[in-house]
Amino acid sequence: MEVIADVISWCLIVPGCFFLVTGALGLLRMPDVYTRMHAASVIDTLGATLLVLGLIVQAGLTLVALKLVFVLALLFFFGPVASHALAQAALHADVKPILAEDRRGRDVDPGPAGSAGSKEEPSS
């Protein structure tokens, strides 16, 4: 029984860790704020869910498992809400997404008069 629980939790934790690292790597390498949000949301949903499910299988039927269920519900529901709020705020601050037409747009560093966002200028 222990072996089955260990096998199941290995099968859940390792993909969870893979998605965590992949999401963080996407956060680092993506070219634009909005695409980075896409990558970071992978951490909140897939990575956290698989990892916490693996930990629940390891914890068995105890109080710790119940707390883990609450943590999972919190992360799973609040993560996308925060992403949505962030995307809406970025859109209101005129941070323009890099579209397919201007594929070679570069990030612009805010100058001395920089405010909440920066204007990303497409290069033709």
């Binding site: 934790i13 963080a24 930990l55 943590v71 809400v81």
Partner: protein, 97 residues
Amino acid sequence: MFYVATGAVLAALIFAVIRAIRGPTVFDRVLAGNTIGTLAILLLASYGFLTGRPEFLDIGLTYGLLNLIGTFAVLKFFRHGDLAYDIAEDQENSGWK
């Protein structure tokens, strides 16, 4: 197995911190801050299982709520400039409903 989990969470933390340091706009940094909050909760869970004392998960719940409320407060500031901003009051003052 918990070594793998903790190691992966730490690697993700390193990447998120690099993005927080490098990100040109402020929204990059807010996104990285939100991600670091989530990763801190996951670090708490996996580190607790690694050392055999998973009783500190209540703190993880607190972190989750704080993370969300903090992100919302920061974003509300960037948009309206006022923490006491009330959408209904603003609409009726501007005569638009």
